[in-house]
């Protein structure tokens, strides 16, 4: 499975302290997970880097940042069959399902369905592009 992006949790002021700070940025507001997303594409590695910045205490990463400080939060993998991936990992011990979301990230190809799993003190995200239903 192809590694699609690396998710880094930090405050906005921390971004410039990273070695891999973004040059050309895509910026989005995730009002469901209460985060600001600053995303850049690294063409040399064919990899996206997603900076996840909590916007409030209700953010899904607020506690994580408070507890662990800025740093790598998750690896994001692109999959063709999200439901099947969930079914497989649900059966495996050591993989804990955290949550699933729908989010529009245009630079990732538009509407996405995502699922998060916790494994060995690490968070893995699986993403799949979903087509908008025609009305």
């Amino acid at each position: 499975m192809k590694l699609h992006h690396i998710g880094i949790v930090c405050d906005e002021s921390d971004i410039n302290k990273f070695f891999f700070r973004p040059k050309k940025k895509f910026i989005y507001d995730d009002n469901v997970q209460k985060n600001k997303l600053i995303i850049e594409f690294n063409p040399f590695n064919n990899l996206w880097v997603e900076f996840v910045i909590p916007k409030s205490e209700k953010s899904t990463v607020f506690k994580y940042l408070k507890k662990n400080g800025p740093g790598v939060h998750h690896f994001g993998y692109k999959t063709k069959n999200l439901e099947n991936q969930k079914k497989i990992l649900d059966k495996k011990t050591g993989f804990l399902f955290i949550n699933s979301f729908k989010i529009n990230i245009p630079c990732f190809g538009g509407m996405l369905k995502t699922i998060f799993f916790f494994n060995n003190n690490f968070i893995i995200e699986f993403i799949k592009n979903v087509k908008k239903k025609k009305r």
Partner: protein, 78 residues
């Protein structure tokens, strides 16, 4: 060692490491989540450790399972 004893050991060690020796005194009467002793990240860590050591699947997305993390007695019998 029985599975319940393994789970108890995992939970006790986690709480001792986090809060210190005095934490286990009267722990049965306290609410672990509502009382702020453990948060959502701690639940993931504890559940993951239980799965690893007991080979038992802990589905924290089920409310019935999730709420067991609030009471020490429920948790060690998960």
């Amino acid at each position: 060692m029985s599975k319940n004893k393994i789970v108890k050991k995992i939970v006790d060690n986690f709480l001792l490491k986090k809060e210190g020796k005095s934490i286990l005194k009267g722990i049965e009467k306290r609410n672990l989540v509502d009382g702020g002793l453990i948060d959502s990240l701690d639940i993931l860590t504890i559940a993951s450790e239980i799965e690893k050591k007991t080979n038992k699947k802990i589905d924290i997305s089920k409310p019935k399972i999730f709420y067991k993390f609030n009471k020490y007695k429920d948790l060690i019998n998960i």
